[in-house]
Amino acid sequence: MDEFIEGWTAQHGATRDQLLPLLHAVQEEAGHVDDAVVPVIAKALNLSRADVHGVVTFYHDFRRTPQGRHVVKLCRAESCQARGGAAIEAAAAQRLGVAMGQTRGDGAVSLEPVYCLGLCAIGPNALVNGRPVARIDGAALERIAAEVAA
C-alpha cells in the first residue's frame, strides 16, 4: 500500500486538497481504508494522523473494514419511501439475511443505505454491485438475492 500511495502522489501531487481523491483511490485499490494506512497517507500529504482520521470518519463513503463480496445499496430517501421503500427495505434485510448497514457474517453481502440515487420517479431503487436497479419489488428482490448467492 505504501508503494501505491507513493506512486499515486507522484502522479497527482501531494497537496492537502488531494486527500479525498487519494482516499477514494486507496479504497478502490484495497476495498477499504485500513487504520494502518492512515499514518502513511498523513505522511504522504504532510498532514497529521488526526487530520486524516477525521476525514475518513466524516464521510459515509469511506469504510474502515472490508465490505462484502457483493454490495447492495438501497435508497432510503423520501421518493423511494413514497413508493413502498420501507417495506422493501425490511424485505431486503430478511431475504439477504443482513441488517441495513451491516455485512453478513459469511462476508457474502453488505446492505448499505444510500440517500438518493437520483432515480426518484421509478423507485424503490438500488445499486447492486454498481448497477442501478429500479422499481424494486418482490421479484426484483429475488433476482438480487440470486446474484449475491452466486
Binding site: 497537496t15 492537502r16 486538497d17 488531494q18 486527500l19 479525498l20 481523491p21 482516499l23 477514494h24 500529504l45 498532514l47 477525521g54 476525514v55 466524516f58 464521510y59 459515509h60 463513503d61 469511506f62 435508497c75 430517501a77 423520501e78 421518493s79 423511494c80 419511501q81 413514497a82 413508493r83 444510500v114 440517500y115 438518493c116 440515487l117 437520483g118 432515480l119 426518484c120 420517479a121 421509478i122 423507485g123 431503487n125 454498481g130 448497477r131 442501478p132 436497479v133 429500479a134 422499481r135
Partner: protein, 544 residues
C-alpha cells in the same frame, strides 16, 4: 437503420442497456443519448424516419422486430407531439435526450459554443451585465441573483479566482443535475467557461456526489474532449464521498480542500474568500447550464419567460408516487396542482394524493388544498415552504406524516456536519420527541401503552431539592425551582409544543440550511396533517 436509446442512469436502471444491445445485434446503428425525461415510457427507443424520429416505449429486448416493422403496440408517434413534451419550454434541457451527450460535433451542430463565442467577444463586465439582465437566480434553492454573485467575484482583487460547480445537491426527489450532466455535459462545461471569462478565473472544479457514478464518468470524458475548446480555462471533476451537507457551498469548499465537509460561517462570502481563500464563483449545475442559452439568445429571451421576480424556466422534477414522473422544464408560475395532477397524472398507485414535498428533504409538505400555489420563489416562501431544487415528491393517502417528520429529523441527525449545536443535537432530540408522539398518539396508544410510561422520565420525577439546607439558603432562587415540573409532561399537546420550540431554535440558530430548513418538513407536517400526530384537525381543514 438509426436507433436512439438513452444511456441515462434511470433508463439503464429500467433495462435500456439490454434493449440497446438487442438492437445492435439486429444490425441497427444504435446511438446512446441522454434521457428525454419521461420515465413512464422508458426504456424509450426512437427510430429515425424520413420525417423525424418515431418513438416507442416502453420497449423490451424481445421487441426489436416489432419496433423495426412499426407494429409495436407502444408506438408513440413523434416524441415532441406527446402532451408531456409539447407543453414544455426547454431552454436548459433542449439537447437532453436528442443528441449523443459526448459527441462534440452533435453539440456544435445544435447551437453549442454559441454562448461562449458571444461571451468571449464581450468584455467581462458586459457578460456579467447580460447575466444580471436575464434575471437568473441560483437554481440551487436560495434563489440568489447569479449576476450579483459574479459581479462580486469580478470586482474582487486577487491573484487567482475559481469557478466551482456544486453538483452535490443530493435532495431526494431531484435528478435534474444528474440528467443534465449525463445528457448534455458540454452545456455545463460551456456555462463554466463563460463564468470563467466573466470573472477572470483560470481553473474550475465540478464537485459531483459519489451517488451519481454515471454523471462522474460522463463529465470526465466530456472535459477531456472539450479541453481544447475551453482553453486556457481548465476543469476537473472532484468526487464527493457521501456527505449530504457538502451540497452546502461552504462545506463543499472545505471538502475540495481535503477537509471534513463542515460549514463555514459567512461572512466572508465565498465570492470574496472562497476556495483556497480566493474569490470563487460557486453555482449550481442548473444555474451554470442556463448561462449558454442566455449568452446565445440574449437576456430578454430568458427574462421574457417566468413569473414575478422568478425569471426564465425551472426544470421541475416530478418524483415519488406519481404516474408520469420525470423532468418537466417550464417557465415559473405554473401551479403546484397543474404539475402534480395534469402533468404528473396523479399518483402511480391510483390512490388519492395526500401530500407533496417540494424542494427535497428540507422542503415543506403541502396538502392538495395548497395546489393553487404558483411555482415562484416568493409565493412558496410566503406559504412556509421553498422551491429548493424544484423536486416534487408525491405521496398517496397511505403516508404517515408523523413518520415523515421523524425521518426529516433522523436525516438531519445522520447528515449533520456537527459544527453547530442546534443542528447536531437538536435533530437527535427531534427524533426523540417525534418518537414520544408516535407512541402516545391514539392509534398506537392501546398497543404501546407500556413504552410510554417507560419513556416518561420516571427517574426525574422528583424536582431538584428546593434548597432547604443551610448552605446556599441565602442565594438560591426558590421561585425558579418551584417552577420546575415534578415530571415531564408527555401529553401530545406538550410534546408538539416542545417540537415547535425545538424547530424554532434550529431554524434561527443553525449555521446552514441543513439545520435551518429541517423545520420546514417537520412543521408543515404538524400544521397540515395534525391528525397523524394524534392532534385535533386544524380549524382550516375542519371547515372544508
Amino acid at each position: 437503420m438509426k436507433i436512439y436509446v438513452s444511456r441515462d442512469m434511470a433508463s439503464v436502471a429500467l433495462g435500456a442497456d439490454d434493449v440497446a444491445h438487442a438492437f445492435a445485434e439486429a444490425g441497427c446503428d444504435v446511438i446512446r443519448t441522454g434521457s428525454r425525461g419521461l420515465f413512464s415510457i422508458e426504456p424509450l427507443v426512437e427510430v429515425e424516419m424520413a420525417d423525424g424520429r418515431i418513438a416507442y416505449g416502453p420497449v423490451w429486448p424481445g421487441d426489436v422486430a416489432a419496433v423495426l416493422d412499426g407494429s409495436h403496440v407502444n408506438r408513440l408517434g413523434r416524441i415532441d407531439a406527446l402532451p408531456f413534451f409539447a407543453g414544455q419550454q426547454r431552454f436548459t434541457f433542449a439537447r437532453c435526450g436528442v443528441i449523443d451527450p459526448v459527441c462534440l460535433e452533435d453539440y456544435a451542430a445544435t447551437g453549442g459554443w454559441k454562448g461562449l463565442n458571444a461571451a468571449r467577444a464581450l468584455a467581462p463586465q458586459a457578460v456579467v451585465d447580460v447575466v444580471k439582465a436575464s434575471g437568473l437566480r441560483g437554481r440551487g434553492g436560495a434563489g440568489f441573483p447569479t449576476g450579483i454573485k459574479w459581479q462580486t467575484v469580478l470586482d474582487a482583487p486577487a491573484g487567482d479566482k475559481f469557478i466551482v460547480c456544486n453538483a452535490d445537491e443530493g435532495d431526494s426527489g431531484t435528478f435534474a443535475d444528474r440528467m443534465l450532466m449525463e445528457g448534455d455535459p458540454y452545456c455545463l462545461i460551456e456555462g463554466m467557461a463563460i463564468a470563467a471569462h466573466a470573472v477572470g478565473a483560470h481553473h474550475g472544479y465540478i464537485y459531483i456526489r459519489s451517488e451519481y457514478p454515471f454523471a462522474i464518468y460522463t463529465m470526465r470524458l466530456a472535459i477531456e474532449r472539450a479541453a481544447q475548446r475551453i482553453a486556457p480555462f481548465t476543469l476537473e471533476v472532484r468526487e464527493g464521498a457521501g456527505a449530504y451537507v457538502c451540497g452546502e457551498e461552504t462545506a463543499l469548499l472545505d471538502s475540495i480542500e481535503g477537509k471534513r465537509g463542515q460549514v463555514r460561517a459567512k461572512p466572508p462570502l465565498p465570492a470574496l474568500k472562497g476556495l483556497f481563500g480566493q474569490p470563487t464563483v460557486i453555482n449550481n449545475v442548473l444555474s451554470l447550464a442556463a448561462v449558454p442559452f442566455i449568452l446565445a439568445e440574449g437576456a430578454e429571451a430568458y427574462a421574457g419567460v417566468g413569473f414575478g421576480r422568478s425569471r426564465g424556466t425551472m426544470p421541475v422534477q416530478l418524483a415519488g408516487n406519481v404516474r408520469h414522473g420525470g423532468l418537466y422544464e417550464i417557465g415559473f408560475g405554473i401551479t403546484l396542482g397543474e404539475l402534480v395532477n395534469d402533468i404528473g397524472g396523479g399518483t402511480a398507485s391510483g390512490r388519492p394524493v395526500r401530500a407533496v414535498q417540494v424542494g427535497g428533504p428540507l422542503g415543506a409538505y403541502f396538502p392538495p388544498s395548497m395546489f393553487h400555489l404558483p411555482f415562484d420563489y416568493e409565493a412558496f416562501a410566503a406559504a412556509g415552504g421553498l422551491i429548493g431544487h424544484a423536486g416534487i415528491t408525491v405521496f398517496d393517502d397511505s403516508v404517515d406524516m408523523a413518520h415523515m417528520a421523524r425521518f426529516a429529523m433522523e436525516f438531519c441527525a445522520v447528515e449533520s456536519c456537527g459544527k453547530c449545536t442546534p443542528c447536531r443535537i437538536g435533530s437527535t432530540r427531534g427524533v426523540e420527541i417525534v418518537d414520544r408522539i408516535m407512541v402516545a398518539r391514539p392509534s398506537s396508544q392501546s398497543v404501546r401503552a407500556e413504552p410510554v410510561e417507560a419513556l416518561s422520565f420516571s427517574s426525574r420525577k422528583e424536582g431538584p431539592s428546593t434548597g432547604s439546607g443551610r448552605t446556599g439558603e441565602g442565594y438560591i432562587d426558590k421561585a425558579l425551582y418551584s417552577r420546575s415540573p415534578s415530571r415531564i409532561d408527555t401529553s401530545l399537546d406538550a410534546q408538539s409544543d416542545l417540537l415547535r420550540d425545538l424547530c424554532d431554535t434550529m431554524k434561527y440558530g443553525s449555521l446552514c440550511a441543513l439545520g435551518g430548513f429541517t423545520p420546514y418538513p417537520v412543521l408543515s407536517a404538524l400544521d397540515y396533517f395534525p391528525e397523524d400526530f394524534g392532534l385535533a384537525k386544524s380549524v382550516q381543514e375542519a371547515a372544508e
